[in-house]
């Protein structure tokens, strides 16, 4: 892996200004180019954000206004009433939030426990057989849960895991392993080998080196992996929760809301209010950690 393929973080503006004058000239736009860029960005962001804006406006509208024609974009009598009423009328909303957090936390812990040693092995040691094993791990990404559902269903039934939290945790972990290994391995490969050698010279055992030398150095990378895994667990693997669990008390947020969404009379403003409350943690994470997320996302994929 060469420096050139490393993901380049967003360059801070100060460094850019220090560049040669030619470089500055490249970034000099005519006024109509600036207008064009902003217009393009607005168009792009409209596509990205329209559902959220509309969803938010829906959560503010009273039902009567929602089901009136002609359609009006802005709420006339907007209020946060739906945010108050949904706690009681979306059945088990609290439960869904707690379940989602619980499932995602356990999934993250299990993934880290499995992936930290494996990523270290892939990053530090190389000998026959390791390449194919790494390839096999990454190939998991390519098989969707749907093709494994029937045997998994039977497996879960045998072990009595259906309709428990394990029904969502156990298969969820498997599908988050590949990206976590990929990310953490890339991160660990950047840790200088000299650290291992120095520890060896001091007579430290392999396991001691991993625990006391490598883990502390890798902590920031592990944090990023933990965050992306948590988000992944919180957001995805809808299909497992849908198939392996039919009990409301164990449903994670997306499936719980889907059960509600699927009913005949949906109280849309409350559903949207519930959705916004449900995604707030993710939005907060984006806001504070976007830089890490960008780095994490690209580190995994750019490297080939």
């Amino acid at each position: 892996m060469t420096e050139a393929t490393q993901p380049v973080p967003v360059p801070p503006p100060a460094r850019r200004r220090k560049r040669a004058r030619d470089g500055a000239m490249i970034d000099h736009y005519r006024w109509w180019e600036v207008v064009g860029i902003y217009a393009g960005i607005v168009l792009f962001l409209i596509f990205i954000l329209a559902p959220f804006v509309e969803g938010f406006l829906v959560s503010l509208k009273p039902l009567s206004e929602l089901f009136s024609t002609p359609y009006s974009f802005w709420p006339e009598n907007g209020s946060f009433a739906a945010y108050r009423t949904m706690w009681t009328s979306v059945p088990g909303f609290w439960r869904y939030i707690v379940n989602s957090f619980l499932i995602s936390s356990v999934v993250t812990v299990v993934v880290l426990a499995l992936v930290i040693p494996a990523a270290y092995a892939f990053a530090r040691f190389s000998f026959k057989g390791m390449g194919p094993v790494l390839g096999a791990f990454l190939a998991i990404n390519m098989f969707s849960g749907a093709v494994l559902l029937i045997p998994l269903f039977r497996l879960m039934r045998t072990f009595g895991m259906l309709n428990t939290y394990w029904a969502m945790i156990v298969p969820g972990v498997a599908f988050l392993i590949p990206s976590a290994i990929w990310l953490l391995r890339t991160y660990m490969m950047r840790i200088p080998k000299e650290l291992n050698e120095a520890a060896y010279m001091d007579g430290a055992s392999q396991l001691y080196t991993l625990r006391r030398v490598i883990l502390p150095v890798a902590a920031p990378g592990i944090t990023v992996v933990a965050i992306t895994t948590f988000i992944g667990a919180y957001a995805q693997q809808f299909i497992f929760a849908l198939t392996f669990n039919s009990r409301t008390e164990y449903m994670p947020l997306p499936v719980g809301l889907f059960a509600y969404f699927g009913k005949q009379e949906v109280i849309w403003n409350e559903l949207m209010a519930a959705s916004f409350v449900g995604i707030t943690p993710a939005l907060i994470i984006i806001f504070f950690l976007q830089r890490y997320l960008v780095g994490g996302l690209t580190a995994g994929a750019v490297k080939q």
Binding site: L45, F52, P70, Y71, S144, L210, Q236, F238, S275, A282
Partner: protein, 292 residues
């Protein structure tokens, strides 16, 4: 330097828990799916070996249609993701004030629970009260309300648009990172020679981003092919099967109708396609890394 044998044993020990886990939760079910596909297993029936009957049964006109639809769906979605993602990356890469804010604003579809984003689209597509239909009427583009999810052709495109929406942030951010790793000197040299923006994009950016574009489109292809949540939440494969892709079809057969054997046969067909994609992917990436 270190004892080679001890090191090797240690490395395998580190790998063992993860390997074991994946063997039980992924590899075993894969083998079991293959085995099931030759039986008539269903919810109640005792499992009998039926040879290739399931396979003979599924290869009919309907299934051929499903396969074709899956490929058209996947192709259109991936193509749109690449084009829009590149468009977004170019815009967000331009040195205008506010771009780091714009970068944050592209991320929500990628990071919020997929299902919730899809609910919002579900409402936007609503024929009577939804935003898209409402705006189209307001601007006089259509006479009456348009129920996008009620007709096959519009539902097909509606699910694609939602899939593109979910995929675009990741493609954009990834392309942006790839774009920024291109040495600036190249642009400066071209600029000195009087090359315009479009020329520089076409002759420097695009060729140097080819590996990133290929990698991303392969990954995107696999993810899109496997897409389940969007179609299931929006249309459940309807109206009258017009948005049924192979994954949806498999789910309906295996879980919906509890015909495990036939579902497993469909899953095996999916696996064959995915393996071909995988093979192509590894081939291409190996060739690309050999060039560097």
């Amino acid at each position: 330097m270190l004892d080679a044998r001890a090191t090797r044993i240690f490395a395998w020990l580190l790998l063992a828990p993860a390997i074991l886990y994946v063997l039980i939760i992924v590899a075993y079910p894969l083998v079991a799916t293959f085995q099931l596909s030759f039986t008539d297993a269903s919810l109640r029936r005792v499992t009998n070996w039926v040879g290739t009957r399931n396979y003979e049964r599924i290869f009919n006109a309907t299934f051929a249609e499903v396969i074709l639809r899956t490929f058209v769906w996947t192709f259109c979605s991936v193509l749109l993701k690449m084009v829009i993602g590149m468009y977004g990356a170019v815009l967000l890469n331009s040195a205008v004030p506010g771009r780091s804010l714009f970068r944050i604003l592209t991320m929500p579809p990628w990071i919020v629970p997929m299902a919730i984003g899809i609910f919002m689209w579900g409402w936007m597509y609503n024929g009577q009260f939804g935003m898209i239909s409402g705006l189209l009427q307001r601007f006089g583009l259509t006479d009456g309300p348009v129920a996008f999810l009620a007709y096959g052709s519009t539902a097909f495109w509606a699910t694609i648009v939602t899939d593109v929406w979910i995929g675009v942030p990741m493609v954009t951010i990834y392309f942006l990172a790839a774009m920024q790793s291109i040495p600036r000197d190249l642009y400066e040299a071209a600029w000195t020679d009087g090359a315009g923006r479009w020329y520089r994009f076409r002759r420097i950016t695009l060729p140097l981003m080819a590996p990133a574009i290929i990698t991303m489109s392969m990954l995107s292809l696999i993810a899109t092919f496997n897409s389940f949540d969007i179609i299931w939440i929006l249309t459940q494969g309807g109206p009258s099967g017009q948005t049924t892709t192979m994954i949806i079809d498999t789910y309906q057969t295996a879980i919906g109708s509890k015909r495990y054997g036939e579902g497993a046969a469909r899953a095996v067909v999916i696996c064959i396609f995915l393996s071909l994609f995988c093979l192509a992917y590894f081939r291409v990436t190996r060739r690309l890394s050999a060039q560097h």
